[in-house]
């Protein structure tokens, strides 16, 4: 590291330990395996490996002498085989996932009737590529053994001090609820949803029981956006940013690539503008913490959450007053004058700030100013939105890069005021029945909500909870009803106005569950209440059909017969078009809206609560895949932590893992610290969604609950900018960080160039070696030769590929204990490096999987030929032969091989993947064998089979490997290198392509394209000029 760098080169580093060259890091970097296989406590999870081998040796000897037959196995064919099912072949169903804040079109892969993997639906115009990590993991939540299985009633018995659960049948439950509904009205609260049929049904039901009220709420509500639209333009609409049309993007706190519920959709659109050969867009980010958007920004500027308003208004001042552009009235001008000299005040590079303002104006009509999300969820969030709206209006972006016509679609956007209205309604206890559906109200809302529900119950109300788990909220219920998983039930979604998707069930309900919709239909029918549509539908399926017939097909006037339309819909999964070219007039901005904007007060350290790409709001906390998914920024698994900037941490004497106490206006939490470079010195970050107490065996006790730190008053939810006081304690709690090890030892790994130097030299930044002669002979590839191109320029590091790979390849979860020992099993990882100034570094991400080398170093050292080259260029693992010497892993320069230290697939630990969720096409590995990326060889075989049956060769793009399929931005391309016309061959010819650690002459089949940054900073070339 040190010796390879000289002073004028940019230094790349992976963690602070490495930068400072600490002894601990060097120790870890030297050791491939951090712990001895003979560790004493290893046996706790079963037999230690040595013992196991001893026993196995004995049993082999015994079986060889006794000549016993293998254990007899059975074949159990179907009694009546379903018509469309061929045993051993997957069936695909189009569906949607609609219970996030947004929706995504899905193709559900099923095997013998079991859904095993979710894949993106390319027919969906809103999000044709990729699905997020949480959506990938949604599939195994179906098989979660801790799902609620039976309807239950909590009854009080005279002899018992405590109440206890009684299992009941649906008939009994129905009798009771119908009895209640005869006399009483209902208060209903659900999570956000985007299903038009569901909305219609809830409206119908509420109309049938006059006086009943329904509410929608979500813990991450962003109420400010809608009210700011009203304040700015006089009308409350939902707007859609059009990234594919934006040439210049400025975000202030907004994390559109990471945290935003539509991030996968935006990533697809944004990636289209990042082509360095075309007109490449530029992204400038102002933020407090390092987010995915900030990591990918061309320029990133650190500001505190309370300063966001200064940045936006300062930019406006710069454009309007200083540079004299745009027409505004005098009161606006004087308002803007308050924000003169912002750059100086905030300690921002003044030249850069005025350049941003100039460029925004230069790109007017094609630029985009964004704010919002939890990072920008400050007290004055509405002002932020208004200021951003003002900028977008004077820049003429409104109607061009911001689509405001697609407004008021079904997506129910909850507001913080909805929770307040709900609690007020509950307090009156007028409606004696409370139904909470699929919303963990008590966990999100804390003591306030808990008390409100208690009071309601004491006032004689009946609390019915419908959910997937008996969680924090379910535990308080009088009646607890299991609902169907979204893969078990009918439904629909409206992604954008006029773009609909249909949710098909792909499996019968596994448990004795029933959806809210079906329950409502049953209850309304029994009471003969409600509209004709409500009465006329026996099942929710009937209701969805009748809704689509009357409201969607009829409105579209396409004249198709309904049955034909329905048949097509089920095949395609989506209906409707997304307008490509939006060209609307700029709305007139009410300049009076700016009047109340002022600089926010700020003192001391500011808190910034955020959500992580894996866990999100905490709903999926019981899915072990997501707990073990390394956070894209910190690479920490299995925890949340308080993030401190390097300078602040040093000042306070904090190291990674030191436990700190955070005091936010009297609310205290104790949490380990993490030193996050690039964070503002006066900001402390903490992730929401952790610290579950009744989330399930995986979720419970992981991290701390940060929801009590969210301030929810006056119809506002404040996530950022609150004053926080941190104090160091003497305790230490290690964080399971996947980053400090698996390093590539400081060689040229990620190649990056600025746009300017790329335009001069297409291979800018790539270090060329003149004399590379291999001692090995070349392999001959007569047919296919598989290769993969990874475009670092469109990889944003979100990690969807990591979970997609896990789902496809039956990759086990090891748990926090073994991640700490460096034994995680992910076949692919996203390496993240920093370079430059440690206070505000450039970040670089790179997906690394087995490179399938032509001269693979692993192959030559295997004593038993368990890893060999095949005649199509892949490096294959023969599990039967592997005896677990781990020589291959030791000799792999890319550190992509994973060893099974324990049997992690037996299903006896809570974090084990449920058996039913395994992909039957892929071997489930066990203790003692090495494994690694196979290039999804099962998918290669399947497509080759189809091609052979049709007497042709495999078409380019026909084989989609799992990571490629999961990627929203199209960074990964897989194909046949022997075909000069294939996309991979074309990409490999590009001068931007380089091989990782080329000087080792391993000749990888995975090749990378350099990252191009549209920034002025010079000399990102770090390995010296020219060649040697």
């Amino acid at each position: 590291m040190k010796d390879m760098q000289n002073n004028n080169e940019k230094k790349y580093w992976k963690s602070i330990d490495q930068l400072e060259n600490e002894a601990r890091f060097n120790e870890m970097a030297e050791a491939e395996f951090q712990t001895s296989p003979l560790k004493s406590e290893d046996g706790n999870d079963g037999l230690a490996r040595r013992d196991f081998l001893k026993l196995m040796g004995a049993s082999v000897a015994m079986s060889a002498t006794a000549c016993v037959r293998r254990p007899a196995q059975k074949i159990v064919p179907y009694a009546k085989r379903p018509e469309d099912l061929v045993v051993g072949k997957p069936n695909f169903y189009a569906s949607v996932l609609a219970d996030e804040l947004s929706g995504a079109g899905l193709i559900v892969r099923t095997r013998e009737g079991r859904p095993i993997k979710l894949e993106p639906n390319p027919a969906n115009p809103a999000s044709p590529k990729g699905i997020s990590t949480r959506m990938q993991a949604h599939c195994i939540s179906l098989y979660d053994p801790e799902r609620l299985k039976q309807p239950k009633r909590w009854i009080t018995e005279e002899n018992f001090h405590d109440r206890k659960w009684n299992l009941l049948t649906w008939e009994k439950i129905d009798d009771e609820v119908i009895g209640l509904l005869e006399k009483e009205n209902v208060t209903l609260i659900t999570n956000n949803y985007s299903s038009p049929s569901r909305k219609a049904l809830i409206d119908d039901f509420m109309a049938a029981f006059k006086g009943s009220k329904s509410f929608v709420w979500n813990p991450l509500v962003d109420s400010a956006e809608a009210s700011a639209q009203e304040r700015s333009y006089g009308k409350e609409v939902s707007v859609r940013p059009l990234f594919e049309k934006a040439k210049y993007i400025v975000t202030v706190g907004a994390d559109f690539l990471g945290e935003d519920p539509r991030a996968h959709e935006y990533a697809t659109a944004y990636a289209k503008t990042r082509n360095p050969d075309g007109e490449m867009s530029r992204l400038v980010t102002f933020e407090a913490m390092l987010s995915l958007t900030g990591m990918n920004a061309d320029d990133r500027i650190r500001v505190k959450p309370s300063q966001f308003i200064d940045v936006l208004m300062g930019l406006a001042h710069e454009i309007v007053v200083t540079q004299g552009n745009g027409t505004v009235n005098s009161s606006t001008k004087s308002k803007l004058a308050e924000f003169a000299g912002v750059a100086k005040k905030l300690n921002i590079d003044e030249a850069l700030f005025s350049e941003v303002a100039k460029d925004l104006w230069k790109n007017r009509g094609q630029s985009l100013v964004l704010t919002g999300g939890t990072y920008a969820g400050v007290e004055n969030a509405e002002d932020l939105y208004v200021a951003a709206n003002f900028l977008n209006t004077i820049l003429g972006n409104d109607g061009k890069t911001i689509d405001y016509a697609k407004n008021n679609y079904t997506t129910v956007n909850a507001k913080q005021s909805d929770l307040e209205a709900f609690l007020a309604e509950l307090k009156t206890a007028k409606n004696k029945v409370l139904i909470v559906e699929n919303l963990n109200l008590v966990y999100y809302g804390g003591e306030t909500v808990k008390k409100a529900i208690r009071d309601f119950q004491d006032a004689g109300g009946t609390f019915i909870y419908m959910g997937l788990y008996q969680d924090e909220t379910g535990d308080m219920a009088d009646i607890l009803l299991p609902i169907d998983h979204s893969l078990e039930a009918w439904g629909d979604a409206e992604f954008h106005k006029g773009v609909y998707g249909i949710q098909q069930p792909t499996i019968r309900p596994l448990h004795n569950s029933r959806s809210l919709e079906q329950s409502m239909l049953n209850w309304a029918y029994a009471l003969q209440a409600g509209s004709k549509r409500l009465q006329g539908s026996e099942t929710y399926y009937d209701y969805v059909r009748s809704y689509w017939k009357s409201d969607i097909l009829n409105n579209s006037k396409n004249g198709q017969a309904f049955e034909d339309f329905w048949f097509e819909l089920l095949q395609k999964g989506v209906y409707g078009e997304l307008a490509e070219n939006v060209n609307l007039p700029v709305r007139s901005f009410k300049q009076a809206a700016l009047a109340s904007i002022s600089t926010a007060k700020s003192e001391g350290m500011e808190l910034s609560l955020y959500t992580k790409a894996g866990i999100g709001d905490g709903k999926y906390a019981n899915i072990a895949w997501l707990q073990e998914f390394p956070d894209p920024i910190s690479k920490v698994t299995w925890d949340n932590y308080a993030t401190f900037s390097k300078a602040t941490a040093d000042k306070m004497g904090i190291k990674e893992g030191s436990v700190v106490t955070l005091d936010v206006e009297g609310q205290k939490v104790e949490v380990p610290a993490y030193v996050q470079v690039g964070q503002h010195d006066s900001v402390i970050g903490l992730a929401l969604g952790y610290g579950r107490t009744k989330g399930g065996r995986v979720a419970n006790g992981v991290g701390v609950d940060a929801y009590p730190l969210v301030k929810r008053v006056n119809s506002k939810a404040v996530f950022a900018g609150r004053k926080v006081v941190a104090a160091k304690t003497e305790k230490f709690s290690p964080l399971a960080n996947t980053q400090g090890h698996n390093t590539m030892m400081g060689r040229q790994i990620i190649v990056e160039a600025t746009l300017d130097s790329y335009k001069k030299d297409k291979s800018a930044g790539i270090h060329k070696h003149k004399f590379l002669e291999s001692a090995w002979g070349k392999h001959e590839y007569k047919g296919y030769r598989w290769g993969m191109a990874v475009d670092l320029n469109s990889c944003f590091g979100c990690g969807s590929c990591v979970v997609a790979c896990q789902a496809e390849n039956n990759i086990p979860v090891v748990g926090k204990k073994y991640v700490l020992e460096g034994r995680e099993m992910h076949w692919m990882r996203i390496d993240r490096y920093y370079s430059g100034d440690m206070n505000n570094p450039d970040s670089h991400v790179m997906p690394v999987m087995c490179q399938h080398c032509e001269n693979a170093p692993c192959e030559t050292v295997c004593p038993v030929l368990a890893t060999v080259h095949d005649d199509e260029g892949t490096n294959s693992m023969v599990y039967n032969r592997c005896v677990g010497t781990r020589y291959c892993s030791n000799n792999c320069p890319y550190k992509v091989r994973r060893f099974n230290w324990f049997a992690l697939t037996k299903g006896d630990r809570p974090e084990d993947t449920p058996r039913e969720a395994y992909n039957p096409r892929v071997t489930v590995r066990s203790r003692g064998v090495m494994e690694k990326c196979t290039f999804c060889i099962q998918r290669i075989h399947d497509v080759k089979d189809t091609a052979k049956n049709e007497n042709r060769t495999v078409r380019d793009g026909e084989i989609k490997v799992a990571c490629e399929e999961g990627c929203p931005s199209g960074a990964i391309t897989f194909g046949n290198m022997n075909d000069p016309e294939s996309r991979v061959s074309k990409l490999f010819e590009s001068q931007r392509t380089y091989k990782l650690l080329e000087e080792y002459l391993a000749v990888p089949s995975v090749r990378y394209q350099t990252k191009i940054r549209n920034a002025k900073r010079e000399n990102t070339d770090h390995h010296g000029e020219g060649s040697h």
């Binding site: 064919p77 009694a79 061929v86 072949k89 294959s876 099962q938």
Partner: protein, 174 residues
């Protein structure tokens, strides 16, 4: 010490005998060649495939479409046995299972080692006769494992130039 020499001699002879036995033993240890378990219903291939000449793929209809040839579902049996020989006790058992929607648990005869993938589709479509691997199935009253299904046995066929078959490890092992 003659006694000790005798002991050594006996030991050597015993070893030679065991080695000889191992060489001449068929099937070799560990492979289940000849394995012939009793099935829950004594289905007779020599009658169906032999005498009646029902094509193999009438019942094993998956064989040319998927990796598994698959044991037929009961609805295939019932195509004929709705009418044919309905009074037989075995057919009654079959019909009962079918009507109750209960599967019949057959004993698996051909068992590949773990981590090996075999693809029926490829072989059937290439024109490899079922009998090449499964033996004279049309004469078997009760099915037994004809070939040893060892890797050497697979590769012997794959290596023949006229077969033009792949011999990469990853063809079967992944």
């Amino acid at each position: 010490m003659p006694n000790k020499n005798l002991k050594v001699l006996v030991g050597v002879v015993a070893l030679v005998l065991i080695a000889g036995l191992a060489v001449f033993m068929k099937p070799p240890i560990g492979y289940n060649q000849g394995y012939q378990p009793t099935q829950p219903i004594p289905y007779d291939h020599s009658l169906h495939a032999g005498k009646l000449e029902i094509p193999c793929q009438y019942c094993h209809s998956n064989a040319s479409y998927a990796r598994h040839s698959s044991v037929p579902a009961l609805n295939i049996c019932m195509n004929c046995h709705n009418q044919v020989k309905t009074q037989s006790e075995h057919i009654k058992k079959l019909a009962d299972h079918y009507n109750e929607g209960k599967s019949i648990q057959w004993q698996k005869v051909h068992l590949l080692p773990d981590f090996v993938h075999f693809n029926h589709q490829r072989h059937v479509r290439r024109g490899v006769a079922c009998q090449t691997c499964h033996g004279p199935i049309e004469t078997m009253k009760e099915v037994f494992q004809y070939s040893d299904l060892s890797m050497g046995w697979c590769v012997n066929c794959h290596r023949k130039p006229e077969n033009n078959a792949p011999v990469s490890c990853s063809t079967c092992h992944y």
